[in-house]
Assembly symmetry: C2
């Protein structure tokens, strides 16, 4: 593939939600959230993002505009009668733990992702952190995809392990944090967890650990990228989704799964996630300048330039 090739689009299936978040230093009410929102805005800096999701009739034009203003194709977001998925949570003092105060699935409860005909040939697919049964349904509809990434969380490991294993056996890459990786794999080390998860199906596993960076495991390949070190962490919500968006966006842009491209994908995911946590909702990743993104990318790689 030539480096002059056009970026390929990224199909994203996930939640589009309202988040109400309390942190030790502030709060946001009914702000745009959901995995598909974070993934798509992050990916939009690298490629064309196409979103399939569902919202209620309380989801207004200005909410949709936060995505479409970034060139995200939102025609796959179905608007239906009822209320948009609403999550309410409160972070602990250290921002590493949170309590869910309310999860109102609302219209998301009956979400049945139908991939529009025009999207079915999309080569790159990101399965946001939703019920593995829905992820399976998307996989059924996107069989020609070249590369499928997925995210998941402890809730699905606890409650839908069988379906989760089914999804894992069909995807190319899993994004997961370290504790969840160890839980999923029943292992005590990151390396042990990564090997066990790769044996479940995905050729690649990306294990994340907040401000201590992330590791990608692949065939004869282990790549480590540190995190951008920040002092002003406002709200971690969406950091993982944003990471996936930056990572997948770079893969869509470059096309090839070389060592170098995968390392750069980790770096871009890391950079985009660092902006997310500096503000509530998607505020940190909206309307970023190329200069600001590139400066942080240099700052990141400088830490491993010996």
């Amino acid at each position: 593939m030539s480096s002059q090739q056009q970026a390929q689009p990224l199909l994203i299936v996930g939640s589009v939600a309202f988040d109400s978040v309390e942190t030790p230093t502030g709060r946001a009410d009914m702000a745009l959230g959901g995995s598909a929102s974070f993934v798509s805005i992050a990916a939009s800096y690298f490629t064309q993002a196409l979103v399939v999701g569902v919202v209620g009739d309380d989801f207004e034009a200005h909410h949709m505009a936060r995505m479409s203003d970034h060139g995200v194709d939102v025609r796959g977001i179905e608007k239906t009668r009822g209320k948009t998925f609403h999550w309410r949570g409160r972070y602990h003092e250290d921002l590493n733990n949170r309590d869910t105060l309310e999860t109102a699935l609302n219209v998301f409860q009956h979400f049945n992702p139908i991939i529009p005909e025009a999207y079915r040939g999309t080569p790159y697919v990101m399965l946001g952190n939703i019920d593995p049964k829905l992820q399976l349904s998307v996989l059924e509809q996107t069989k020609g995809a070249r590369f499928v990434g997925m995210d998941t969380m402890n809730f699905w490991i606890d409650t839908a392990r069988e379906a989760l294993h089914d999804v894992l056996s069909h995807v190319d890459l899993l994004f997961i944090n370290d504790e969840e990786a160890m839980q999923l794999a029943d292992q005590w080390t990151v390396l042990g967890a990564a090997e066990a998860i790769r044996a479940m199906g995905p050729k690649y596993v990306v294990i994340k650990r907040g401000e201590f960076g992330s590791v990608l495991f692949g065939p004869d390949l282990t790549l480590f990228v540190p995190a951008v070190l920040l002092t002003n962490v406002v709200d971690p919500t969406g950091a993982g989704d944003t990471f996936a968006g930056g990572f997948m966006g770079h893969i869509c842009k470059t096309g090839e799964l070389t060592r170098s491209n995968l390392a750069q994908a980790l770096a871009w995911g890391t950079v985009m996630a660092s902006f997310t946590v500096e503000a509530f909702s998607v505020d940190g990743i909206c309307n970023l300048s190329r200069e600001k993104i590139d400066a942080r990318h240099r700052q990141l790689l400088d830490m491993v330039r010996y």
Copy 2:
């Protein structure tokens, strides 16, 4: 300084102890432990290590030989009547936490480190994880030192904060793990903690986080080195001391505090620590071949070769 210069010796003051350790998979009884033992054996692969410490009359020739067989100068280890410092602990299932079952200070209770006249001009000094009051006493006796590193732990942060601050204001580098760094600095992020600690005195701070690597903070300098990823973690005891030994050993060997040397010091500390955790006591770092050490060093740096 020429790259052909001779390695400078490293003076190490710390505990020499017997450790009795239980892990989920095994145990060691009355095995060689203590900060000075781990630091000196690790450093011996890079330079001449000189130890000042105290042991009891139950400390036999074969215990001492584990250090001296590596060329460690043990003439500064005073042998006195009574029993050697004995620590007994049990690790939890995940090896990240442990309970202290017994701490018998024994002869260490009256330890008053007297630096032999011949050692007082040693340019590089490592203050092992002991009472800050003892660390201060060593500092008084080694005023001409070019570079002083120190280690500490939550126990001293809790019980001897004032003396600890006094030590910090006189050393060049602090080794500390991430949780303890945040506790010491009363900060919620690694970066915030590092900045606050550097304001307390040390020009450099190395913050460690087990299998997620370590970060060095210095003047206009942030360097990150991942950890060697292992599946066979047997006993984490001494990993931090070993890290310090490899780090300081490399600095003694190379002499200059350049970006490149500091990064390599982080890497060598990481490599040596990875051997320690693969076995009980000092077994993992005794009689290592240069080939084995170098192979692991290459494996480590390969993770950040993009």
